[in-house]
Each structure stands twice: as structure tokens, then as C-alpha cells.
């Protein structure tokens, strides 16, 4: 295990940011700390880096107790949301910084800087000042700078949060590919579940200072541990007192098999090749259903249609009042009975 976090608690005054957190981060993997803002994930990352101190608990990096070590001694690379570039140094000097203070020979520094700038595709900017770079380029430079000293662990704190949507997507893919090339243990913090699902090998979901679930993207999506994880990782809708995914709601024109919930289609929204239907049950509840356009056409459903809703067999469902999620493998009739 690359990083072992045991029993970490952190308070800011009365506010409990982290509550007895236990996580083990595997070596060489790309792990995401995912959760809503203020949930404690950045705090945890900073504690791993040594930029903040935990009130209780220990941090081990590659088997060595790092709890009391200052950040200088932990050999962790840290990338900040707002890049933290050294404004008065050129791009090359920024990247060279960590090597220069370790007093490496000039030739070695030069070579390594060239190597890294090539890796992040910034070679032609090496003499520029950071102020001449775009946000995305600055972040790539920050990454090169952190990687220059060959850290044991690479930590990224909402690295794409300050960038616009298109650049964010590009850098997301780029980070994944970089990791595939460089293989250093990487932990990144994000509140964007799409980002975590796309990029990470493993996701740690943190909410209100506690770990909700740890698993691969598939596990988290298909087997959510509770309703928070289910809600956070994707769209949900409520039917029959259960929370399900909108694409897991079966729609049939009335009259249908018994056990279905009668409802009326009140709104049809086309989103690309999918449609998003707002269907209001006779009891007055709004249910969101997604399906492909072709499926909707084959059903013959349109705005105003009277339909019957059932939860698809095999769908992941969490009781709406909280509690343990289930996967429904019985027919609706049998479940209701």
C-alpha cells in the first residue's frame, strides 16, 4: 500500500472536517477523493501532504510513518487548484526549482527539465513567464514541476477546478494518459463525479468528514453503499418508494400489466440521442425517465400519453427513506405482494 491513513480526525474549531477516516491507497494507482464541497476531501489531501496537521491519527507513506514529517521531507508532489506558479520565474525555472534546491548538477537539471517539458508538451514555452501561459498550460507546468523531483506520491487538489469546461475535459483525459505513462501513485480531489468516474482506477467517496464508500467506478455506480453515494454518482429518480436510475424505469402504454404505477407524460425533452421524460404519477409525484429516441418511438409514447411505470428487473434501487440498497431481481408483482 502506498498511503495508509489511519484514524485521522481534524477539527476547525467546532466544525469536524474529518471524523476517524481510514483509507489505504494502493501503489501505482490513480485514486480519486470524491465528494461535495466542504466534505473534507481537500483537508485529507493536505494532511497527507503535510500542509495541515491532523488532530488524531497517522499517515504512512510507503510503509514509513510520515505523521510528524514536514511537507519538505515527505517527497510528495502537490498540484494546487490555482496552479501556485512562481510568478517571477520562467517555466523552465519553475520546473527546475525542486531539483535546484536539492543541489543537483546543472546538466542533470537541464536534461530533466527538458524531459518533463516534453512530457507535458510545453517544450516551446520553456523560456516564457507563467503569466504568458493559459490556465491549462500553467497547470501542466505545475504538474511537470511536481513530477521533477520524482515524488513517491502525486497529489492534486481539484486540479481542473479553475479551468473552463472544454479545457477541463481535455486535461482530464490527458491526466489519465500521463498516469498510464508515468505510473506514480496519484491521488486527486474532485467534486465532479463524471471526472472521477472517467479518470480514476478507484474512488473514495467522502461526505461530511466520513468515508461513504471505496471502490472502482463500476462498483460505485452499480453497487452504491447507500443513497448518498447513489445520488452523488449519477442522476436518480424516485418510484414506488425507491430511488432508481432514470434509465431503469420501464414505461408501457396503459392499460399495462398489474403492479405498474399509472402516470401521465407531462414533458418530453430531447437531449442528443436520448429523451428525458417527466412523467407525473396519478398520485402527483414527478418521475424522470430516460430512454433512447428510437425506444420512445417504438413505444408510441408522447406528451400527454397515459402510461404505466415499473422499475426494471435487475435495477439497483435504494429505499427512499434511506437504508440498505437492494437489487431487484423479482418481478414487480411478486415484490409488491
Amino acid at each position: 500500500m502506498s498511503i495508509d491513513i489511519t484514524g485521522v480526525t481534524k477539527r476547525f474549531g467546532d466544525f469536524v472536517a474529518l471524523d476517524d477516516v481510514n483509507v489505504s491507497i494502493p501503489t501505482g494507482q490513480l485514486t480519486a477523493l470524491l465528494g461535495p464541497s466542504g466534505g473534507g476531501k481537500s483537508t485529507l489531501l493536505r494532511i497527507i501532504a503535510g500542509l495541515d496537521k491532523a488532530d488524531a491519527g497517522t499517515i504512512s507513506i510507503e510503509g514509513q510513518d510520515a505523521t510528524k514529517l514536514p511537507p519538505q521531507k515527505r517527497n510528495v508532489g502537490f498540484v494546487f487548484q490555482h496552479y501556485a506558479v512562481f510568478k517571477h520565474m520562467s517555466v523552465a525555472k519553475n520546473v527546475a526549482f525542486g531539483l535546484e534546491i536539492r543541489k543537483r548538477p546543472k546538466a542533470e537539471v537541464k536534461q530533466r527539465v527538458e524531459e518533463l517539458l516534453g512530457l507535458v508538451h510545453l517544450s516551446q514555452f520553456s523560456a516564457r513567464m507563467p503569466s504568458q501561459l493559459s490556465g491549462g498550460q500553467r497547470q501542466r507546468m505545475a504538474l511537470a514541476r511536481a513530477l521533477a523531483v520524482e515524488p513517491t506520491v502525486l497529489l492534486l487538489d481539484e486540479p481542473f477546478g479553475a479551468l473552463d469546461a472544454k479545457v477541463r475535459k481535455e486535461l482530464r483525459d490527458w491526466l489519465r494518459r500521463l498516469h498510464d505513462e508515468v505510473h506514480v501513485t496519484t491521488v486527486f480531489v474532485t467534486h465532479d463525479q463524471e471526472e472521477a468516474l472517467e479518470v480514476a482506477d478507484e474512488i473514495v467517496v467522502i461526505n461530511e468528514g466520513r468515508v461513504e464508500q471505496i471502490g472502482s467506478p463500476e462498483q460505485l455506480y452499480d453497487e452504491p453503499a447507500n443513497d448518498f453515494v447513489m445520488r452523488f454518482l449519477g442522476e436518480v429518480t424516485e418510484l414506488d418508494g425507491k430511488i432508481v436510475r432514470p434509465h431503469d424505469v420501464d414505461v408501457a402504454l396503459q392499460p399495462a400489466a398489474p403492479g405498474g404505477t399509472p402516470a401521465t407524460v407531462t414533458r418530453v425533452l430531447r437531449v442528443g440521442f436520448e429523451v428525458k421524460l417527466t412523467v407525473t404519477t396519478d398520485a402527483g409525484q414527478d418521475v424522470v425517465v430516460t430512454m433512447t429516441r428510437s425506444h420512445m418511438r417504438s413505444l408510441g409514447v408522447e406528451e400527454g400519453s397515459k402510461v404505466s411505470l415499473t422499475v426494471a428487473p435487475g435495477a439497483v434501487a435504494v429505499p427512499a427513506t434511506g437504508g440498505v440498497p437492494t437489487t431487484l431481481d423479482e418481478t414487480p408483482a411478486a415484490a409488491a405482494g
Binding site: 520562467s90 534546491i101 513567464m129
Partner: protein, 293 residues
């Protein structure tokens, strides 16, 4: 007080230019004019007042000095007493500016990064030299460093009095130019350096100090100009002894009181030139340092 003294000439970060234009290359454009008739009238009246108050009088000094020709300057500067005053004033001002560069930065650091009871009072006391009448400053310094000093230090009528008075009146300048820059420094840049292995001293030397240098230089320029201009506090404190404790402004006053306006103007224009020179040099050095990175 801080904004009153922060240099309007401090260079701020240049905007990003992804096309890769070299920094400092401003687009040449003809001066625009967006004045409305009302604003134009306001500007006209304000400029009239400004000319009557500042521009004309200052040009009168230059004109009067020039009217005497080079012989006038030579005569004034060759006068031993005047030359001694110039030397004393400039050397003491340089020494005080160097002291202020160190102490000003230290004080600004303590004000921004340290916390202790009474810090707010320290913050107010620093501005006292700026708000205090200079003649009163002389009395104040005499109280502790004059004939009746409770700690036995009597610097009245000695060259040390000049240094002391200069140090007093220039205290706030570098503190107040450095303070806002220190306050604006972002924590994550220092944390980045720490995560890369830099110890505290390296972080200060390579990350913090470079950001402060422009502000320090701007404050140093103000401090120097203020010091060589000082008059009031020295009247009572230094006794204005010729060749010993007489500063340039006192010489100018002597010339005025004797009716030698041409000599006074010559010496005054030399002072203005020295101040201007130092301000320009410091500005150039500051820009060079900021660009070099």
C-alpha cells in the same frame, strides 16, 4: 495610511498573452479623449489651479536657477559649506534608506505574519512620523536623545542627530509599501515550494523576497526623497552647525533669508534633480529585477 504611501508606480502582473507577445511591448495608440464638456471644464479649472500652485512655482525655480547660468551653479556648489551640507545630507539619506530597507521589511513582516497583543497599537504608532509636524518631531527626539536624555544619550548638535531625524521621518515609507504586497501573497505558492523540498529560509529568499523587491524599491525611493527634503525636525535637533550638522534644506533657507534667490534656486534645483534621479534609477532597477525573474 498604507495606501497614502504605497507607490503608484509599483508594477503589477502583466496579463496573459497566449499568442506569446513579449512582455512590456505596449500597443502604440494615439491618446484618446473621452472628456465631456463638463469634465473638460473641470479639468481646465483644476489645471489652472495646479499650474498656479505647483507647475509655475516649480518652473520658477528652474528658470531662476538657469538664469544665473552655469557660473551660478558652479559658484553655489563650490562653496565649501554648501558642499559639506550636500555630502552630509546625501550620505545620511543613503544610510537611512539602507536601514529602512531592512527594518521596514522586518516591521512589515511582523505586522502581516505575526500575532501578538498590542499589534494594532504598533500599526498606529508607525504612522506617527507621517502625521506629526516636523518641528514637533524635533522636540520629540530631543526628549530622548538630547541634553536631558533619561538614558544619557545626547546626540543634539551632532551628525547622529541628522541620521536620527531622517530615520524618524522615513519610518513608515517602506513598511507601508511592503505591507500590502505581503498581505496579498498567496499561501499556496509557499506551500508548493515546501512540497518541493524548500526549507523556510529558501522559501523566503527565492519565493517571497522576489515578490517584495518592487515594493521595497518603491518605498526606498520615497524614503530617500523624503530624507533629503527634511527640514523641520533638524532645526531644533541639529542646531544646523555649518560643516557638521547642516543639511541642504537649511542652506537653502539661509540663501532665501539673505535674499540670494538665485543661489537658493540653484541649490533647490540640484535637490530636485537628485531626488528625480534616485526615483528614476530605482524605478529602472525595479523593472529590471521584475522582468529578470
Amino acid at each position: 495610511m498604507s495606501t497614502a504611501l504605497s507607490g503608484a508606480t509599483i508594477d503589477t502582473a502583466r496579463p496573459a498573452s497566449p499568442q506569446g507577445r513579449r512582455p512590456g511591448r505596449a500597443k502604440r495608440s494615439t491618446p484618446r479623449n473621452t472628456l465631456t464638456p463638463g469634465a473638460g471644464l473641470g479639468l481646465g479649472i483644476a489645471m489652472l489651479w495646479f499650474s498656479l500652485l505647483v507647475l509655475l512655482p516649480l518652473s520658477a525655480i528652474v528658470a531662476t536657477a538657469a538664469a544665473g547660468g552655469w557660473e551660478n551653479y558652479v559658484q553655489v556648489l563650490q562653496n565649501d559649506q554648501t558642499w559639506a551640507a550636500l555630502k552630509l545630507t546625501v550620505t545620511q539619506a543613503v544610510i537611512v534608506t539602507l536601514i529602512n530597507i531592512v527594518m521596514g521589511t522586518v516591521i512589515a513582516w511582523v505586522l502581516v505574519r505575526d500575532k501578538f497583543p498590542g499589534k494594532a497599537i504598533l500599526n498606529v504608532i508607525i504612522d506617527v512620523p507621517f502625521a506629526l509636524p516636523t518641528i514637533v518631531a524635533g522636540l520629540v527626539l530631543l526628549a530622548l536623545y538630547g541634553p536631558n536624555s533619561p538614558i544619557g544619550i545626547n546626540w543634539a548638535f551632532t551628525p547622529n542627530a541628522v541620521l536620527l531625524a531622517f530615520a524618524f521621518v522615513t519610518l513608515p515609507f517602506i513598511v507601508r509599501t511592503v505591507q500590502p504586497v505581503l498581505e496579498e501573497l498567496e499561501a499556496d505558492v509557499e506551500e508548493a515550494a515546501a512540497s518541493l523540498g524548500a526549507n523556510r529560509f529558501t522559501i523566503f529568499r527565492r519565493i517571497i523576497l522576489p515578490s517584495l523587491v518592487p515594493a521595497i524599491f518603491a518605498g526606498a525611493a520615497l524614503s530617500f526623497a523624503r530624507a533629503i527634503s527634511e527640514f523641520g525636525s533638524l532645526v531644533l535637533l541639529s542646531g544646523s552647525r555649518p560643516f557638521e550638522t547642516e543639511v541642504v534644506s537649511v542652506r537653502v533657507l539661509s540663501f532665501i533669508e539673505n535674499g540670494s534667490y538665485a543661489s537658493a534656486a540653484a541649490l533647490a534645483s540640484v535637490m530636485l534633480a537628485v531626488a528625480l534621479f534616485v526615483i528614476v534609477v530605482l524605478d529602472i532597477v525595479q523593472r529590471w529585477v521584475a522582468h529578470r525573474g
